[in-house]
């Protein structure tokens, strides 16, 4: 990577962009000029109408006024602001728009109403709803008629010697505890995500096509490619520009619209024309900034996507048609905003949708940093995958030879791999595997759980088996088969080193014992609620213990042990070893392994376990010892929970608390340390197996 090259190309792209009126219009014109004008126009017209409807004198005619003098008197009350006429012009006034409404009073009306006879004809209100002021006038007339009806009821009750209170069986009132900000947030939550995503996408589109498709069409791309600049540097410069444009456009649009919204909110609060605005609307700039920050990874994803479109397309026309389906993506956000679903982990990992939801939660002050991190990390991972796709397209030979073949998936193949050989996983395949695991568990987990509630006893182990198959083994098999992986190298099972196996058999239980002690320690000193993931697992284990403790230990120990090792130490580690040094690849894999368990309390422990497992695989060139270690660790953890669980807590008046210094806990720690030390000695003493099968006695 050469910064000077990237800067030079970035500056060139920027100069071109600043001379392109169309892109500038989209980026700056719409937010800075069109929105404020549009909103101010709409706002002032609406405000004017509302005020007119509220305050203007409305001319109404009462037909047969002599039959209802009390009603006419009520209508003529000064604060109601009606101009009541009772003359002969009544018939034609409504059609000529001289009169807004006509009230037709039936014969003997007031006498019949007072006496409670309902045989009379109804009171009729004639209006013309096609007129703009009718709505507001009708509301005011309805209010007056309701007041009159109340008056009639009171008179009837008084005639029978009763108080009006008899009509009110309960007294009630509703208090909205939502803050002013939350109420404004609810309104903004429906518009802001869509606004950010759509304008961000639009802001990226023209710069992206200008720096790719237009360069292809003009033949300038070739001149760039024969310069000494590396293709990766060129792509970084172009991507940076597109991303900046996207972020800037979305930011400007949001700032402009929020300013206009706050202005409108201020105005409506004074006149109080709409119900929710009665106590005013307002939102802090901090919340808006937070919402914008939440959208950044999605905007990076969009930038990468439109860049891919530009790279695939051979002409501007082709690019426009390819861009259409991509432009639909922000609409997915809009649909979700309309459905307003509750926030779930599955939705928080679904691209685009996650951004819409987190922005909604932020604006209504319901988000937490865990959700925010989940959205950021998963969206960034998706963006990374699309960026890697753009990089493949940009380094592909097809880029400058558009005439050879039309668009095809061949363009995604790496440069120079015409021969279809078996290969090792790539980093992006490893990332896809890691993303697929929580995504499938979030989506398939609840569904599988519902499906299996009917089957008795065996359901929990079966649930674990099916979920591991669907979320771990199925993605591994699908991606590996499509990618033509060399399975023997990705999932090595030979040679089996007896000393490594013996070491794994000791280290697994040792780590499990120390892990249980660690969780007691954590519970004693950090009073954090148990994570959702852990609660779920605990419930599952409990339900299967009733069936058979042995089956529970095996199911929760062995099945995840085998599946997760095949995936993490097989597919994922091989992928990262391809582009990172081995220790770095082991550590990254271990961190990802710990992260997908979605249990922050257990993160350090699982990360440590992941590092041990990774080095074991590297050292023994086989997955067998690591599978054994992992399965032993899981099984022992479950077994300790089942058989020693009640001995590790002491009961207090407020409920059971961890008994950290109890005999059982300390014994567990001691046994764990002994097993760990013995096992480590065995592991370090075992011979190191090189990737080519030769063994050496050297330590790791």
């Amino acid at each position: 990577m050469r910064l000077d090259i990237i800067l030079t190309v970035f500056r060139k792209e920027l100069t071109e962009l600043l001379r392109d009126r169309r892109s500038l219009m989209v980026m700056f014109g719409v937010p800075l000029v069109v929105y404020p004008l549009l909103f101010m126009a709409v706002g002032s017209v609406a405000k004017g109408k509302a005020q007119e409807g509220q305050q203007r004198e409305v001319k109404i005619a009462v037909h047969n006024a002599a039959e209802a003098p009390a009603l006419v008197a009520l209508l003529k009350e000064k604060e109601r602001n009606f101009n009541v006429v009772t003359g002969a012009e009544v018939a034609s006034g409504l059609e000529k728009d001289e009169i807004t409404a006509v009230i037709e009073v039936p014969p003997h009306a007031e006498a019949d109403w007072a006496a409670g006879r309902d045989t009379v004809a109804p009171l009729t209100l004639r209006v013309d709803r096609s007129r703009s002021l009718t709505g507001a006038a009708e509301d005011r007339i309805d209010a007056a008629l309701d007041a009159y009806a109340q008056q009639v009821i009171r008179e009837r009750l008084a005639a029978k010697g009763m108080t009006p209170d008899i009509l009110q069986p309960i007294k009630r009132s509703t208090i909205d505890i939502a803050s002013k900000e939350q109420r404004s947030g609810k309104f903004l939550a429906q518009t802001v995500p869509m606004l950010l995503l759509i304008t961000g996408m639009l802001g990226a589109l023209f710069p992206a096509l200008n720096t790719t498709t237009t360069e292809k069409e003009l033949g300038t791309l070739e001149t760039l490619l024969v310069s000494p600049a590396r293709r990766s540097d060129l792509l970084i410069a172009k991507g940076l520009l597109v991303c900046c444009c996207s972020l800037l456009t979305a930011g400007l649009n949001m700032a402009s619209m929020s300013a206009v919204f706050l202005q409108v909110a201020k105005n409506t609060a004074i006149t109080a024309t709409t119900a929710p605005a009665a106590s005013g609307l307002g939102i802090s700039p901090w919340l808006l900034l937070h919402a914008y920050a939440a959208a950044i990874p999605a905007l990076i994803l969009f930038s990468a996507m439109v860049l891919c479109v530009g790279l695939i397309a051979r002409t501007y026309r082709e690019a426009s048609s390819f861009a259409t389906p991509v432009m639909m993506l922000p609409m997915a956000g809009m649909i979700v905003a309309m459905m307003d679903p509750p926030t779930t982990n599955a939705l928080l990992m679904t691209p685009v949708v996650s951004t819409t939801l987190i922005i909604r939660d932020i604006l209504t002050s319901r988000s937490n940093w865990g959700d925010f991190a989940l959205v950021w990390i998963s969206s960034l991972a998706y963006a990374g995958l699309v960026i890697s796709m753009a990089a493949r397209l940009f380094t592909n030979e097809q880029l400058v030879n558009p005439a050879w073949e039309p668009l095809s998936l061949k363009g995604l193949r790496r440069k120079g791999t015409v021969k279809r050989r078996l290969r090792m996983p790539t980093v992006d395949e490893a990332v896809v595997l890691v993303l697929a695991l929580p995504l499938v568990q979030f989506y398939a987990g609840p569904w599988l759980g519902k499906l299996l509630t009917d089957t008795k006893g065996i359901n929990a182990p079966l649930f674990v088996l099916l979920l591991q198959l669907a979320s771990v083994l199925a993605p591994l098999l699908i991606i590996g088969t499509l990618g033509r992986w060399n399975w023997r190298a990705v999932l090595p099972t030979v040679p089996v080193n007896p000393m490594a196996v013996a070491g794994a058999l000791l280290v697994g239980p040792g780590l499990a014992a120390i892990g249980v002690f660690y969780s007691l320690l954590y519970k004693t000193f950090v009073h954090a609620p148990t994570s959702q993931a852990n609660t779920n697992v605990a419930e599952l284990i409990e339900s299967s213990v009733n069936y058979s403790p042995v089956v529970a230990v095996l199911a929760f120990g062995v099945i995840p042990g085998v599946c997760e090792e095949l995936m993490f130490r097989g597919g994922v580690l091989s992928g990262f070893r391809r582009s990172l040094k081995t220790p770095a690849a082991v550590i990254v894999t271990a961190l990802l392994f710990a992260a997908v368990h979605m249990d922050w309390a257990g993160f350090p422990l699982r990360a440590l376990l992941g590092v041990v497992l990774g080095f074991l695989v590297v050292r023994s060139a086989s997955l067998i010892p690591s599978i054994i270690l992992h399965a032993c660790f899981n099984s022992c953890t479950v077994a300790i929970a089942i058989f020693l669980g009640d001995k590790l807590v002491k009961s207090t008046p407020t409920g059971p608390v961890p008994n950290l210094f109890g005999m059982h806990a300390l014994a567990l720690l001691a046994v764990g340390v002994v097993l760990l030390v013995l096992g480590t000695v065995l592991l370090l003493g075992s011979r190191v197996i090189e990737a080519n099968g030769r063994s050496t006695a050297a330590a790791l």
Partner: protein, 265 residues
């Protein structure tokens, strides 16, 4: 031959996979050398493999077999060094519509690592050499085709590379504009550059090139000066010699491969 060879092509080949899984040999075992102060002409019909060869030499394409040394560097192992030592112009290379020639030249000078303090001077020299100074500050999309191609040549040599690769640089130009470009190329040779030029125009091959390689179906059919080619084929003009060579190859190579080569050009 006094000068060291700056382009040495050794058994270069480029194959493509076609839609049915077959192999198209766009370039098949091409070898040649070109020295400083020399214009080497690649003469061949459309689809003969000229463009593919030149793109391999400019490292935009990776050859399927064989290699080449350009400006002292291998196109396989040091592609970035190769690109720093060549200037490349083809009939399809273009200019940034919204930049002026001066801006475009400055951009490519920086991209090619010309030191910042001499960029302006270098750009002015190059523009003077190619007589583009009079419209140096007009946006490129308001230049005529001939002006554009001269700016394109200036753009390619702004970093003073020893090797210049030109792929049909006068295609689409009228005779007057073409002549201006041709004169510029002769100036480059006079300046000691090694020029590799592909063309299908007999007069260019005859008047400008010191040596010629006739290419057909991805192979070098004959090599030498225009006179040598005529002697070799027993003809009296380069045109006749060309038809004698290419006609023979078309008769040998089947229609299928000719079609494939067509698509590859």
């Amino acid at each position: 031959m006094p000068n060291a060879p700056l382009i040495e092509v050794k058994s270069l080949a480029k194959y493509y996979e076609d839609a049915d899984g077959g192999t198209i040999k766009a370039v098949d075992n091409v070898s040649m050398t070109c020295r400083a102060g020399e214009i080497y002409g690649l003469l061949g019909p459309n689809g003969a493999g000229k463009t593919t060869t030149l793109r391999c030499l400019s490292t935009v394409l990776t050859p399927s077999a064989g290699t080449a040394i350009v400006g002292g560097y291998s196109i396989l192992t040091q592609p970035e060094k190769v690109r720093a030592n060549i200037g490349f112009v083809s009939g399809t290379t273009g200019l940034y519509a919204r930049l002026t020639p001066r801006e475009a030249l400055k951009f490519f000078a920086r991209l090619n690592g010309v030191p910042a303090d001499v960029v302006d001077q270098r750009v002015q020299q190059t523009m003077d050499l190619f007589a583009v100074s009079s419209y140096a500050d007009r946006p490129c999309d308001r230049l005529s085709t001939g002006m554009k191609q001269r700016v394109g040549l200036a753009r390619a040599v702004v970093h003073d590379p020893p090797v210049i690769i030109l792929d049909e640089p006068t295609s689409g130009l009228d005779p007057v504009a073409a002549q201006a470009v041709e004169q510029a190329i002769m100036q480059l040779r006079a300046g000691g550059k090694c020029v590799l030029l592909s063309t299908h125009m007999m007069y260019q091959a005859e008047e400008m090139c010191d040596r010629l390689g006739v290419i057909g179906d991805g192979r070098v059919l004959a090599e030498g000066t225009a006179a040598e080619l005529m002697a070799q084929t027993g003809t009296t003009s380069l045109r006749q010699a060309f038809f004698a060579l290419v006609g023979a190859s078309t008769a040998v190579g089947g229609s299928a491969s000719a079609e494939g080569a067509d698509r590859a050009s």
